[in-house]
């Protein structure tokens, strides 16, 4: 599969220019870059969604072997290029796993015995055979993602294109999906193109990296070379740059070896005296008293078929500290945040301490309904009975320079999140809760969010974040609560909890061992020395 001198112009913006890219059989190509540089656009050119579905103009050609397929619409390319979009559940056409796997083959007009055979093979290949009759909506995120991959694999494409396949998944489910992809690349010889924000997850599996620096061009090469100069890098590469390791290690195993031999890292781990980066709760001037919940219980469904989301959970959210809630998809993280905010959600239990919990829900855009940022700000002031301009001032503090006349849907993910956060903060809550805020944010945007959350904690608010993102939690949280099946399985300072768990350990902890968590700690320790 080749892109030859491809240029794309969408709504007057030149997104891609003169892109030459060849994907070989049996390789995994990782597409990296900041939000909004055109990663999805690049992926779309492979299967024809760009420009057939998105509009805009495209120059250059797309070649499959010796055939020019530029003029073929996506439906005619379906047999050669399999495409899985950002939200797999939005692309499901049927409602059971087996029918979904067969759908593409029905369109191709394959004969029933072949279809039957391929469905069985694919069920086994992806390890979803026990789900065959299940309703697609009842599957977990990782299972949905694997079924979505399977539903294009049954057409036996030569190239598989995936747009952020692990963004919405917890670390374990993400590993399942990536292991499946690695198996397809190695055993089946499929060519796979993946765009992903969470580089730390995909880089170890990638054969080559295609970096979009932002000017419409691409840089393609071996991961170590390309990432050495990339604006977005996973923590492991950042650590390698700090320590001056060469060649740059890409997997935890290589980095461990480098750390053992080169060892330019301070051998003495940070002690309790000089850890200014481990902000202990209570160090900051506490304005509120925090929040304490006892015996929280949340149930769904009627008395007959009750599912328990939270089982008598005790939670303490001290003022001036950031608490992270982690756990698998469906372990009760969102239920906990909603139960803190709304008494009606609690089947039992009490919440004492600061009243006024501001909650930013998982799909933050649900809160917005007006045409411009300015109108949203005014409405938020009115709703919260705050002085005019309060929300606007908060927004300027979070992300300066957002135009009042822009439609909220046209903002970037990070800006929209900031707007929602400003709307929530307008009511001056003593406790701020955020549900999966890092979805769709790149590393710089995540860093900005980290600073905002730490500043809010420094003002004496209690901040609680539900997140899958290990690296983000390692940087932002003082305390971590791990939930499983609605129960608290561990709770304590970030360093202890994260380092103990193999699934939730950040890369730096895996390389250097506890109590190291983030690259910043290493940098700070080196400067002190």
């Amino acid at each position: 599969m080749q892109l030859r001198a491809v240029g794309v112009e969408l709504a007057g913006n030149r997104v891609l220019r003169d892109v030459d890219l060849a994907v070989e059989e049996g390789e995994l190509l990782l597409v990296a870059g900041r939000t909004g540089v055109g990663k999805s656009t690049l992926l779309g050119t492979f299967n024809g969604l760009v420009p057939w579905f998105t509009g805009g103009t495209m120059s250059g050609g797309v070649w499959l072997g010796d055939v020019d397929i530029t003029a073929r619409p996506p439906r005619e390319r379906a047999a050669d290029v399999g495409y899985v979009g950002q939200d797999p559940s939005a692309g499901f056409v049927t409602d059971t796993v087996e029918e979904e796997l067969a759908y593409g083959m029905e369109q191709l007009g394959l004969d029933p015995p072949t279809m039957r055979r391929r469905v069985e093979e694919t069920l086994d290949l992806l390890g979803v055979a026990d789900l065959r009759g299940r309703d697609l909506r009842t599957l977990s995120g990782g299972q949905q993602q694997r079924v979505a991959i399977g539903s294009v694999l049954t057409m036996h494409p030569r190239l598989l294109v995936l747009d952020e396949p692990t963004s919405a998944l917890d670390p374990t489910a993400a590993e399942d999906v990536l292991a499946t992809l690695a198996r397809l690349v190695h055993d089946v010889g499929l060519a796979v193109v993946v765009a992903e924000h969470r580089l730390e997850r995909v880089v170890p599996f990638a054969d080559r990296v295609c970096l979009l620096p932002g000017d419409g061009t691409v840089v393609v090469g071996p991961p170590a070379e390309v990432l050495a100069a990339s604006p977005v890098v996973p923590p492991i590469v950042e650590l390698g740059r700090v320590a001056g390791w060469s060649p740059l290690p890409l997997s935890v195993r290589d980095a461990r070896r480098a750390a053992r031999h080169a060892s330019p890292i301070p051998p003495v781990p940070p002690t309790s005296q000089d850890q200014e980066f481990c902000r202990a709760p209570g160090n900051t001037p506490a304005a509120g008293e925090g929040l304490a919940a006892r015996g929280l219980r949340v149930t769904y469904g009627s008395a007959g078929r009750q599912t328990v989301a939270l089982r008598d959970v005790d939670v303490d959210l001290p003022a001036g500290a950031v608490t992270a809630v982690m756990g698998r998809n469906g372990s009760g993280k969102s239920s906990l945040l909603w139960a803190l905010r709304e008494p009606a959600r609690r089947a039992a239990g009490s919440v004492s301490g600061s009243v006024g919990v501001g909650l930013v829900p998982q799909t933050a855009a649900d809160l917005l309904y007006l045409e411009t940022v300015g109108e949203e700000c005014t409405a938020a002031d009115r709703d919260a009975a705050a002085a005019a301009g309060t929300t606007r001032a908060l927004l300027d503090r979070l992300v300066p320079g957002v135009d009042d006349r822009v439609h909220p849907r046209d903002l970037s993910e990070g800006q929209r999140l900031a707007l929602v956060l400003a709307v929530v903060l307008a009511a001056a809550p003593a406790v701020v809760a955020l549900d999966e805020p890092t979805r769709g944010l790149d590393y710089p945007a995540k860093r900005a969010l980290t600073e905002v959350l730490l500043a809010m904690a420094a003002e004496g608010r209690a901040v609680v974040v539900a997140s899958h993102d290990v690296e983000f939690v390692a940087e932002v949280a003082d305390r971590v609560i791990v939930l499983s099946d609605g129960e608290v399985v561990s709770s304590g300072p970030t360093g202890e909890v994260l380092a103990q768990s193999p699934a939730f350990a950040p890369q730096v902890a895996k390389i250097l061992g506890p109590p190291w968590l983030t690259v910043e700690q290493v940098v700070a320790a080196r400067e002190q020395r």
Partner: protein, 366 residues
């Protein structure tokens, strides 16, 4: 001991549990409904409803739509009650028979012709309303039985290939509904986080995000379907495409002219039935041609075997019997309002044919 003395092994081929072809259920149910429409005998109507109920109770699956049958029973009851009430309020036209309740008639201006408001309620009025209502209710309940027994999605998938696109559109539209409800719930929860809004504004703040969400979902779904080959043209020559188009348009024109000529008595007779038949033939040929163009196949199609044939056949037989035999027995078909309704053995047996599916249809897996 010889082998003859051994207890004979009982070989009995049992049907494996599976879902019956949805088309068979619909033919059976429509047959019963047709039979019900041909009579006002309350005994026969009750029999038909009871048959439908028994078959549903024995052969329905555990899918969500199977539970809808009870809803249809209630709907039937409502229809009967309404029908009787209307007869009473609008005054029976007959006015004969025993007077059950002597209500005063409300005088209406003379230009309201043929309508009486209230007036004496006679036994005939009530009975006529009851029988009429029961007929309507029985038809409704038969349709409800088909709904409870047949998987609607599999039915749409059994459509002829030329209608494939229409079928897929309906399936997708049905699948969207629960998602929309989900979206409304989520947005309402989120909006409550922002404090109170009243009146028009609160409706708007709910509608805008829900509609935006629905639009984005539709776009994502359309992209997904396109990327997976929905609507492939395949290798079709321009000539084939022209033939199909010409046949379909000719069929449409023929049918339109034919229908017009049949209805308008002044039009030349050549244009009536012959034109209608020609048009229908052209349209059928166009459908076949269009169907051949569709290079799609079905994954695990529903088989049409002996049980399907028996179930559908029983429905057709019941309908045929009702239309052929009942007119010969007017006392059974439309019993007089003054005497108790009666049944004959033939009518009873023929209607009981509708119970065949309870015996021959395979059980569902549950």
């Amino acid at each position: 001991m010889t082998t003859a003395e051994l207890p004979r092994a009982r070989v009995r081929v049992r049907q494996l549990p599976r879902e019956l072809h949805p088309g068979a259920w619909w033919i059976w149910a429509l047959g019963l409904a047709a039979a019900a429409s041909a009579t006002t005998n309350p005994l026969l109507l009750l029999l038909v409803v009871a048959e439908a109920g028994v078959v549903v109770a024995l052969r329905r699956s555990d899918h969500p739509w199977s539970r809808a049958f009870r809803l249809y029973l209630w709907l039937g009851l409502v229809v009967v009650v309404l029908r009787v009430l209307f007869r009473v309020v609008l005054g029976g036209a007959t006015g004969t028979g025993t007077v059950l309740l002597d209500l005063p008639e409300i005088p209406l201006p003379h230009w309201v012709l043929g309508i009486r408001l209230l007036g004496p309620v006679t036994a005939d009025t009530v009975l006529a309303g009851l029988y009429d209502g029961m007929r309507l209710a029985a038809i409704l309940i038969c349709v409800g039985a088909a709904n409870a027994l047949a998987n609607p999605k599999r039915l749409l998938k059994s459509l002829p290939p030329a209608l494939y696109e229409v079928g897929t559109t309906v399936v997708v539209a049905v699948a969207i509904l629960p998602q929309l409800a989900d979206s409304v719930r989520r947005v309402r929860q989120a909006q409550r986080l922002r404090g109170s809004g009243h009146g028009r504004r609160s409706l708007r703040r709910l509608l805008v995000p829900v509609l935006e969400d629905a639009l984005e979902r539709s776009l994502a779904l359309a992209a997904g379907m396109d990327a997976r080959g929905y609507g492939r043209a395949g290798d079709l020559t321009p000539r084939q495409r022209r033939v199909t188009g010409t046949l379909l348009i000719a069929g449409l024109v023929g049918i339109s002219v034919g229908v017009y000529a049949v209805l308008d008595q002044s039009a030349p007779r050549v244009l009536a039935v012959p034109m209608l038949v020609l048009g229908a033939l052209a349209a059928a040929a166009g459908f076949v041609s269009a169907g051949r163009r569709v290079q799609r196949t079905r994954y695990r199609p529903d088989p049409w075997r002996v049980p399907e044939l028996l179930v559908a056949g029983s429905g057709v037989l019941v309908a045929a019997a009702a239309f052929v035999l009942l007119p010969h027995q007017p006392a059974v078909q439309d019993p007089a309002l003054t005497a108790a309704p009666t049944l004959t053995l033939a009518a009873l047996l023929l209607v009981l044919l509708g119970l065949v599916p309870a015996l021959v249809a395979p059980r569902t897996s549950s």
